[in-house]
Amino acid sequence: MTTAAVPTVDSTEKSVRHGRSHRPATGVGRPGFAWAAPAAVFFGLFALVPLLLVVVLSFTRWNGLGSPEFAGLDNWSRLLDDPVMVKSLWLSLVFTVLGAVVQTPISILLGVWAAGRQRNRAVLSAVYFVPLLLSITAVSVLWRAVLDPNFGVPSQAKWLFGDGNLFGTQVGAIGVLVLVGTWQFTPLHTLIYQGAARAVPGVLYEAARIDGAGRVRQFFHITLPQLRNSIVTSMILMVVGGLTTFDTVLILTQGGPGTDTTNSAYYMYQKAFKSFDFGGASAIALLLVLVATLVSLVMVRLTGYDRMRSTMEGV
């Protein structure tokens, strides 16, 4: 993103310079708040107002028709007593942790590899990027077809999949969801690591080579520490993404078998748009936002991410 159009600006500057000798007062020539206002109002109306409203709705009883009635802490106390809710929180945690554990090593390795500058890497990285472009719907439908027990790949590779239906067991269904998430989102994290790996100063590697450090040592002693900021960025994205996994659950498993893949995001959707318990759903939504924010804040604090100057640039 370099800007090299300086000459054109020079020429306009000359043509503008006609008998204006007074200096403008400070603030003149700078955009005021009015420039930001339309976007702020629009965004406030469709993102921030709903976020405040979800807090209000979580204390109401509402079935989607008529108007919400105040219900105090009723939704919250029901949530705490609801075994499915407790299980769904646990499942959200499992998805998040498994997703991070599987995706992080793959995307670090791919990202560092792709940071090299040979031509074949550029071509391959372009191919690797494709899953990220597709809608989660398309990806889920595609994988459901590929893994269909009767017509998909498992029917051809019984040595790997056995006779069973992957979607019929909890372990199989969770495995599919983690696999599909990995397939789709590894490119995003790879890209984050690729950008960061390119920014590692080459002198560090030269010095290490002179000291006789091999490739593996260089990776663990130079590359990984230098990627620290990116690991935090990527992890926060994974945590928020993992906790809110919804589309894939809806399309691939419908929360099943039973409630074995009903995570909190899917349970919220069911409560609202299947059981028409919008108050209870709002409480779950709020809980998810709080947990995601809390985890992100804790990660930022623990790693000292907020004290690193480079990450604050441009923010």
């Binding site: 930001a36 976007a39 107002v49 597709l134 051809q156 936002v289 640039e313």
Partner: protein
């Protein structure tokens, strides 16, 4: 001193190529054969008889309408983003008031709001506004949720414009409007194309807002069409996969032409 090639890494990257490529291969070859051939040959076999019937059937089955609806949503979302975000980014970068700084922090906060968190109140608001089952009801929240990333990308690009250029124009008495039109917009072309690609991708692939905010088949977007197709004709795998291919064709075309803009935008968000 040139390092020797890293065979292990090369091998690993080939494995990943297989992981990425296999489903795409299964998808493509399935769509070119009839249901019976697909069932008989299995998902991995190369088809003997090629046919385009799956695509034709899907288009007859309502996908042409879903395409049109998705295109309308996408164009409107991009329009709103292009109208609102450049002035916002300009104000973020150049305004000296405290209020704009606060607005920017609100947008950064918005980056972290998952759309599920607001879907119930959104359903309430859109209903109250009388926009339920109306494409406009999908367009407005989709545009709002595309804005934080776009604001971040575009303000980053505008920050790269050197202050001397602004000052030169200011000294000459140029108004903010003039600076915006003659300096800021022309020098932010790369950022503008990035936010166009980015917001159109989000609009084209949107799922949750259409799922919850529309109902009738004349207002269905393509992701909803796919979802319904799967629940209704889940056994017609070639037909289903042809619909998946149809849904992603425009995106792959955009990707071919705008890869740079997209990758840079994503790197700018995560990589700094």
């Amino acid at each position: 001193m040139k390092p020797r090639p890293n065979y292990l890494a090369g091998f690993g990257s080939l494995i990943w190529l297989f992981v990425v490529g296999l489903p795409l291969y299964v998808m493509l070859i399935a769509t070119f054969q009839s249901r019976t051939d697909y069932a008989a040959n299995g998902p991995l076999a190369f088809p003997e008889r090629f046919t385009l019937d799956n695509y034709v059937n899907d288009l007859d089955d309502g996908f042409a309408q879903y395409f049109l609806n998705t295109a309308i949503v996408t164009v409107c979302v991009v329009g709103i983003v292009l109208l609102l975000v450049p002035p916002l980014a300009y104000a973020i970068v150049r305004s000296d008031g405290k209020a704009t700084g606060r607005v920017f922090r609100l947008f950064l906060l918005g980056l972290a709001i998952p759309s599920q968190a607001v879907i119930v109140p959104m359903f309430y608001l859109i209903n109250e506004a009388g926009l339920y089952d109306n494409l406009l009801g999908v367009i407005l929240p989709t545009a709002a949720f595309a804005m934080p990333v776009c604001a971040l990308i575009l303000s980053g690009v505008m920050r790269d414009i050197t202050p001397e250029l602004y000052e030169a124009m200011t000294v000459d008495g140029a108004t903010p409007w003039r600076i915006f039109l003659q300096l800021v917009l022309p020098l932010s072309k790369s950022g503008l194309s990035t936010i166009v690609v980015f917001s159109s991708l989000q609009a084209w692939n949107g799922f949750l807002f259409p799922l919850v905010l529309t109902q009738s088949s004349e207002n269905k977007v393509i992701t909803m069409g796919l979802y319904d197709f799967q629940t209704e004709h889940g056994v017609d795998i070639p037909g289903l996969l042809a619909a998946v291919v149809l849904s992603m064709l425009p995106i792959l075309l955009v990707y071919l032409f705008a890869r740079r803009a997209l990758v840079q935008g994503l790197m700018g968000v995560g990589g700094k």
